[in-house]
Amino acid sequence: MADRTLRGKTAIAGIGETTYYKHGQSPDSEFKLALQAIVTACEDAGISPHDIDGFASYGNDRSEAGRLAAALGIKELRFSNMFWGGGGGGVCGAVGNAAAAVATGMADCVVAFRSLAQGQYARYGRGTGAPLVGGDDSFIIPYGVMSPAQRFAMKVTRFMHDHGIHQEALRAISIACYHHAQNNPNAVMRGRTLDEAKYDASRWIIEPFFHLYDCCQENDGAAAVIVVPADKATDHKHKPSYLLACGQGCDHRSAAPVHNMPNYPSSHFTQIAPRLYDMAKLTPADIGIVQCYENFTGGVLMSLVEHGLVKAEEANDVLIPENLLAPGGRMPLNTSGGNLAECYMHGLELVIEAVRQIRGTAINQVPRNDTAIIIGGPMVTPVSSIILGSEAAL
């Protein structure tokens, strides 16, 4: 088997998003949101929804492939796939799985999507209402370690301690996201600016490093991208974004119970990132656009370090707002506002923003737009990341 790679075999040809809402404010049901995002992505690609032949999702999405296929009148469903794990760890993995199906001939036109109406179902930021907890939870929840923030905060505490990184580095990440959201009409936090004083004065969610503005929103919405073979990619309405690499999985035993993973202060990408760059035939220095999933800013920090985009020992100097802002920063970050300030669409909004940047149609367009890295769901297991590129990057 000569060339086992996904590099350049597929492309994202269409993108679609619903209006994004604060949790509980969507007038439409979660499944209807999924349909809206998929139909919009088809319009963007210039195809009929009848031409879709596969679905890939993650985070235990409730909009099942079979119901979608029936509702949309899919002629022949050839691929249906769910990436294991909670949260947005699977966002890039879902795109990669769609690409793998297309690259291997299992399917020709696969939608990777996420639909999430937290207002209609459970909110992620609330603890369980169950009277009994078993398994790993039994060793954690009775001590008040319940929500995602609480489950991850001790990783961040230790990482900051080990490397002497200050709160200001996390503040810069949040400020960049909020800044980029201000130009974005679909950003839930548009009109709500953030500066250093407001960040510093915001309440603690968890000491010592999780202010309110270090934590993602909870939202309602849906988003979808359409993955097609590379040799058909130019048949569509927009400039293709080619998948150059996908890495997914986790570090050695990163899901070890009761926080016993060998590499504890980690976003779980240390073994994935080198594979990702190898497949892409790129290095971190080649990456122009960075879209990094913010469940919490500490996860962004560790993801950037583990993907070689920032050195831990330089984080205090590099992670300052001017370096992270489009268009002129050295590493524009989350240029549509991301999970913090655009919408917590479990990271699929980050994939879509990367496609807009590569097309050259982003609201906060950056000039160096031939390659983009998207990093999904740090600190959960499994996680995933992808690199996209324009034709020039092939």
Binding site: S138, P142, G144, M146, Q150, R158, H161, R203, A256, P257
Partner: protein, 148 residues
Amino acid sequence: MTEFYLPEGLPTPSSAPDGLAEPYWEGTRAGQLRVQKCGGCGSWQWGPEWICHRCHSFDLAWEEVQGIGRIYSYEKPHHPVHAALAKRGPYIAVLVELPDYGNIRMIGNLLGDAAQTVTIGAPVEAVFEPHDQASPPFTLVHWRVVGG
């Protein structure tokens, strides 16, 4: 009930549905801290699993360990995410590693004032917190700074 570090009403730990952790919870009721030790390679293993991740033996014994460790990491949650915590105010959760037992780690609360400075590396000792009136009864394991 002021004798508990966190208010009553949080979920009760259970070894359901598969019984894997039953020896641990039985041990805490007896004031003992028990973890897994592999009968195949002698490694300590925590949290509980059916197999040793090193040698793949299914012969995992439960052995009592001394509740002596050091703080590996910590957090002070302020924002309550459960109704039982609504009026509690900040509290401290610690991740404690046990150097005498292969650096396995455990999570508990750090007793004392939530405003205290928490030092990574500080020595701590286990403190059992029985909930005898709960149904079913259970015992949590907290930590206290040695000499603190």
